[in-house]
């Protein structure tokens, strides 16, 4: 332990701590001004903004590259420090275009923040004297570069070297002509390229997908969990007016650190896809026709009757609560055997060794926990051809498999799902469900960590909270689970998982919870 005094405040931190982090602690969580320091990257020490005054040292020192020493006396707000920071900032701004009105970073820009804290001076540089560089240069499928706005903090280059190991970005030229660029013929197209946009403290690297879509100060953020794969990266859903505009990673050192992959970031598009289901559809005269929710509910309750249902199919894309309820419903309707947690052939793709998992379903682990077995398409087809009556499908798209579609053709298909999939086209009754960002739900990632995603936007049209539909179905067949709200539902789930504390799922810690009995040895996302 090292004892040091920062701004007159004495604190004690473990040996080896960076002075930068110690300052944050002493300053009540307030960071020193900085561009280049990033806890998950190596130290560059190039922006010179984090200068502090250490007694006994003749010059100011950068805090990010200093390790604390016992007995250090540090000043972060002295006149000397403030003056130095202002001058460094002025230097950063010499060639900066200050085109905040058209810059997507405005509102979450390090330069703007720093200027409000330390700047507020009149510029001495004529607009016409600035060194001009390339603007709006597309450098990859997701990222667009504005060299003029860059402050050369080298976060992006370090990321590409140290995290992805791809090294597409580099700093070229010297002096005030130095600029970030990709080598000729190279594109920034690794699956993590948008993280450079996140870490870029200014508007030099911006997302092509989010470009000009919304000013960031208008967005509201909701914490959720990415549904793109089994890793379950923690995300922040940025939305406004019922529309999601972007996903940003939320730090969870147990799962994804501060990063997430580009594929995952684009999953929000499925929420607003054209073919979302928003009305109940029933087949009349061979066509699927929309009907009102009240009618549709009758249709659904009429179809889902004990004895009438021949087979129940779930999907690992449904949330933990839903899977518990579906399993219960299936047991009541068809008994132990004729049900499956999904088609085991579905939802696999190539993964990588960073975050993206080959398992592209967010909740497979939950199926395993519930002994809700997935079955291969072949085997399912066989079981289905033996069944009759109603085939009840919750999510997924099982009937995209030709064998299954053939086997189900004799059955009446009732599909509860989110998109107009092949299964929906083959169904007789289609009920809209909500997607991950539209409900408060629990997800179990591949480590066996239960994480909570909150509701960011409302589901479209007649779609509603899925668990309420399931509870309604259970009630109609006379097996009321007696859950009036989410807390009761989560207690039910906790009981099903035999967790020690029945309210555990109602006060899940920020980073999720991995029940030691159920989880495998934590593999770690990274």
């Amino acid at each position: 332990m090292a004892k040091l005094t920062i701004d007159g405040k004495e604190i004690e931190v473990p040996d080896g701590t960076r002075l930068f982090d110690a300052c944050r602690e002493a300053r009540g969580g307030r960071d020193l001004p900085h561009f280049c320091y990033h806890p998950d990257l190596s130290i560059a020490g190039v922006c010179r903004l984090c200068q502090v005054e250490i007694e006994g040292m003749p010059k100011l020192t950068i805090a990010c590259n200093t390790i604390v020493r016992d007995g250090m006396v540090v000043h972060t707000t002295s006149k000397r420090v403030n003056q130095a920071v202002t001058q460094v900032l002025e230097m950063h701004l010499i060639n900066h275009p200050v085109d905040c009105p058209i810059c997507d970073q405005a509102g979450e820009c390090g330069l703007q923040d720093q200027y409000m804290d330390y700047g507020l001076y009149e510029s001495e540089v004529e607009k016409t004297d600035k060194v001009l560089k390339k603007k709006a240069k597309v450098i990859g499928p997701h990222v667009i570069l504005d060299q003029e706005r860059c402050v050369l903090c080298a976060r992006c280059t370090r990321f590409c070297e140290e995290v992805t190991g791809t090294g597409e970005l580099g700093i070229y030229n010297r002096g005030d002509r130095a600029e970030i660029d990709v080598a000729p013929g190279v594109e920034l197209d690794n699956n993590y390229s948008l993280n450079t946009v996140d870490i870029c403290p200014v508007g030099a690297l911006t997302s092509r997908d989010f470009r000009f879509q919304k000013r960031v100060w208008l967005l509201k953020s909701t914490s959720s969990v990415c549904n793109g794969c089994a890793t379950g990266c923690n995300v922040r859903v940025d939305h406004e007016g019922g529309r999601i505009y972007r996903l940003k990673p939320r730090r969870n050192d147990e799962v994804n650190g501060p990063w997430m992959c580009d594929k995952g970031r684009m999953t929000y598009k499925d929420v607003h896809r054209e073919d979302r289901l928003d009305r109940v559809l029933v087949r009349r005269e061979g066509e699927l026709q929309p009907i009102s929710w009240a009618e549709g509910r009758q249709e659904l309750l009429g179809a889902v009757k004990p004895g009438g249902v021949g087979y129940v199919l779930a999907d690992p894309g449904r949330s933990l609560e839903e899977l518990v309820l579906i399993q219960r419903l299936a047991t009541e309707l068809v008994g132990e055997e004729p049900m499956a947690g999904g088609v085991s052939d579905d939802g696999h793709d190539e993964g990588d060794d960073l975050l993206l998992s080959a398992d592209r379903r967010p909740n497979r682990k939950a199926l395993a926990w519930l002994d809700f077995a997935e079955k291969p398409a072949e085997a399912l087809a066989g079981e289905l051809s033996g069944a009759s009556g109603v085939l009840l499908v919750f999510g997924g798209d099982p009937l995209a498999h030709q064998a299954l579609a053939d086997a189900a053709s004799r059955m009446r298909v009732v599909y509860l799902g989110t998109h107009r999939t092949a299964t929906a086209e083959a169904a007789d009754v289609v009920v809209p469900l909500s997607m991950w960002a539209e409900k408060d739900a629990l997800w179990v990632n591949k480590q066996g960590r239960i994480q909570r995603g909150q509701r960011a936007v409302l589901p479209p049209g007649d779609a509603r909270e899925d668990w309420r539909v399931l509870v309604d179905l259970l009630q109609s067949i006379g097996h009321d689970p007696e859950v009036a709200g989410l807390p009761a539902l989560r207690r039910l789930v906790a009981a099903r998982l035999e967790l020690e504390d029945e309210n555990l799922l109602n006060r899940l810690p920020e980073g999720g919870y991995a029940p030691p009995r159920l989880a495998d040895a934590p593999t770690g996302g990274r």
Partner: protein
């Protein structure tokens, strides 16, 4: 604030018997109103009323009338779709859809720019907020009428050519 001829502080006192009887006070009131009535009856022309469509009041140059979008020297709209105006607008009546400008030095421009004049409260915050002097309310137009609600939502073309006699 004090008004001409009126005391700053008004003290109340108990009414005397005659005043409490109300009828004499009513008579006095009737005399006051009657005086106004007679005076105005024989002086219809000196009434302060502005006979609106026939007469119009002159407003100062700072009067905030219907908005217009200004143009650069080359005639292209100055607006860069920064959304400052729509952010600051208390009535939330400016709708802007930004687009990528073919000229990379301009970069961003407003593909669509709609103002719902029915919702606008003419506070002038939008012109105050604009960093590019792209929106102004100096047309002096205050007669804003249309036959449908939709017609009050004016688009970019309209705002760019919003001269003195532009009607909805």
């Amino acid at each position: 604030m004090s008004y001409k001829g009126l005391p700053d502080v008004v003290t109340t006192r108990r009414r005397n018997l005659l005043e409490s009887a109300y009828f004499t006070e009513i008579a006095r009131g009737l005399a006051v109103t009657g005086r106004h009535l007679i005076r105005n009856l024989f002086n219809t022309d000196k009434m302060p009323t502005v006979q609106y469509p026939d007469q119009k009041r002159d407003y100062g140059p700072r009067f905030r009338g219907r908005h217009r979008l200004t143009q650069r020297e080359d005639g292209s709209p100055r607006c860069v779709a920064c959304m400052m105006c729509s952010t600051v607008c208390p009535a939330d009546c400016i709708e802007i859809i930004a687009g990528e400008h073919p000229d990379p030095t301009i970069e961003k421009y407003s593909k669509e720019f709609n103002i719902d004049l029915l919702r606008c409260v003419y506070c002038g915050l939008c012109e105050e907020a604009c960093p590019c002097d792209a929106i102004r309310m100096d047309t002096g137009i205050y007669e804003i009428a249309a036959e449908t609600r939709e017609a009050f939502v004016v688009n970019k073309d309209f705002l760019l050519n919003n001269d003195k006699d532009g009607t909805l």
